[in-house]
Amino acid sequence: MTFFADIIAATFRNATPLVYGTVGETYTERAGILNLGIEGTMYAGAFFGFATAYHTGDPWLGLLGAIVVGLLAGALMGLLTVTLGANQHVSGLGLTIVLIGLSEFANRLMFSGGSLARIDPMPLWDPLGGLGEPESLGGQLASIANQYGLTYIAFLVVVPAAWWVLMKTPLGLSIRAVGENPEAADVAGINVFRIRYIALMIGGAFMAVGGAFITLAMLGTFTLDIIAGRGWVVIALVIFGRWRIFRGVLGALIFAAVYSLGLRLRITAGFEDIPNEIMLALPYVIVILALALSGRNVPYPGAYLKPYRRS
């Protein structure tokens, strides 16, 4: 009975892009900026990460390419919302439209026609390999632990480090200050503009890595509509997590668990008659329900959506 082991393993795998995205979006929103460019940033990270890996033959260079794209996407969002003070909703949606358009255009130029371009995906890390027969407890633990390196990095390095930086370091304090009360932060000598740019660029890099995980590790290729709304799910997870990293990650795990359960039930006896689409829609409905139940009077960052200008 490997049913639960399968679902737990798939949950961590499917949660990984959401975890990177949630960390990234939490940083930008804590600095006072709703970045709806996340869907496009993840998309561009997925594509340009893949394209770099394809041309260099090295998925880790692909990851670097995705990070660069994410930093640039964050900077562009900063130009619009921090420097120019444009409306954040519109700037973010515009950024998403541009980045998806650019990725699909570049995809067409680089990979048009012929067979599907593939790379050797990042290998799985199997620390408990050989712990027993697949059906035994040891074998099931081994299959749960058999994950991509980026998944381990997400949960064991990025999440704790991102929390520590945000809550325990001067940089994190500055990010929270400019998101809560930029006037006071300015008086205290914090460069509001610079900190917001930094938060947007850190956030953008994490979002892009989340997207790149899908092409570089999970699939080893790029397909259209590859992000499929994961960025929008992250926007919900950040609210569900009340702008706290660990709560947001918990939300990502819950979402991924429901999603993975739905996928697994499709090939489970007795559940074939439930339309596939219902299973796929379930996670979204659950997120909306979770927001309806817990999203009331949530403590939005004080300067959320508000551009800052020195007068």
Partner: protein
């Protein structure tokens, strides 16, 4: 001061045009085309022949609907990003009714179908709107997340009960002839061979009505007041929640009619690809149009032009059609930036700090809203 403003607007506009030309021109060069040829193919060529000109109007039809739907909602500060899903629900309603009205008189069928589509779109918009005004749940997230749910619902129908029994394709059976929007060529002898249909006329009429209501009536004034400053509107005695709820439903209803128009005027059946992102393009149209109805009309026609140009340039200049989306996105980002610069410079000149609305003591439920004009 007025001359100065005009000068500023001129400088910003020139800067915006230069930026757009630089970015899109670079993209054309990368795609291996002469930028001048490409601009001609994208924007001018579609207007030079009757057939392609009518096709521009045809391509503009769905995004005129969705652009108007988005603009009305955004104008009130209600961030309805679920127009895509609301459109799909309208399409489902149209396909459902279209299958069962064989032999009915068209004069009865068409209003019923349009009404049902509007209801379906409004119904899909209702849940996020109620969550927003009753519980203060951010509508950005809920409207967005219902888009994939709507698409999955369409797919469930097409792979399940509505699968075409003859072909086995995931397409609903063809709708009855009485349910088809007549082509305009049937009424206007000047119009030659074209798919342009009744939906275009409905879109124009809707935009005129919306323009009148928004800019000439008390209702419109309240909508705009809520969008400019919910706090101020509340002080002025406007029932903000009720206004937001109504705006959300109207926006969803217009999106639903867009779905009816695509099913009844173009596809004649429900397909998975009934909307290639018309709801999202509607956001672009609304923003480029400055959230005004005349602006939506111009921007919708412009993007219709661009859409026809981009697809014909695939053949004539071997430019990938995806470049059309890049041009569209660049237009949007540059316009957003230019408007922000213009507002900022202008307000500085007036010695009026831009974003210092006095926060009133009673915070309304819901996510924080910008009190500055967008």
């Amino acid at each position: 001061m007025a001359e100065n403003r005009l000068g500023r607007a001129g400088i910003v506009a020139v800067g915006a045009i230069v930026t757009i030309l630089a970015v899109t021109g670079g993209a054309f060069v990368i795609a291996g085309a002469n930028p001048l040829d490409a601009y001609y193919a994208y924007f001018i060529a579609p207007l030079t022949r009757e057939f392609t000109l009518l096709e521009v109007l045809n391509k503009a039809t769905p995004i005129l609907f969705t652009g108007a739907a988005v603009a009305i909602a955004f104008r009130a500060g209600y961030w309805n990003i679920g127009v895509e899903g609301q459109l799909l629900m309208g399409a489902v309603a149209a396909a459902g009714i279209g299958q069962v009205v064989e032999g009915w008189p068209p004069l009865l069928v068409l209003p019923v179908m349009i009404g049902a589509g509007a209801l379906a779109g409004a119904a899909w918009a209702l849940v996020p709107a109620l969550l927003r005004v009753r519980l203060g749940i951010d509508e950005v997230v809920t409207t967005l997340l219902l888009n994939p749910v709507a698409l999955l619902l369409v797919q469930a129908l097409l792979h399940g009960p509505w699968k075409d029994p003859e072909t086995g394709f995931p397409e609903s059976p063809r709708i009855a002839e009485a349910a088809e929007f007549p082509p305009l060529a049937d009424f206007i002898p000047l119009i030659g061979r074209s798919r342009l249909h009744l939906g275009f006329v409905i879109a124009i009429v809707l935009i005129i009505i919306a323009w009148y209501v928004l800019s000439r009536t008390g209702t419109g004034l309240r909508v705009r007041a809520v969008g400019l400053s919910p706090h101020g509107a509340r002080f002025a005695g406007i029932r903000v929640e009720r206004t937001l709820l109504r705006v959300a439903l109207v926006s969803g209803a217009i999106a639903g009619v867009a779905g009816v128009s695509e099913v009844a005027g173009i596809q004649f059946r429900l397909t998975e690809g009934v909307s290639p992102g018309f709801g999202y393009t509607g956001i672009v149209v609304a923003m480029l149009g400055g959230l005004t109805m005349p602006g939506v009309l111009v921007a919708g026609l412009l993007l219709g032009d661009l859409s026809v140009g981009a697809s014909s340039a695939v053949r004539s200049l071997q430019i990938p059609s995806q470049l059309g989306d890049v041009v569209q996105g660049t237009l949007l980002l540059v316009v957003i930036g230019a408007v922000a610069i213009y507002r900022w410079r202008t307000s500085r000149e007036d010695e009026r700090p831009p974003d210092e609305g006095e926060p009133p003591p009673d915070e309304p439920p819901g996510p924080p809203s910008e009190t500055s004009p967008t």
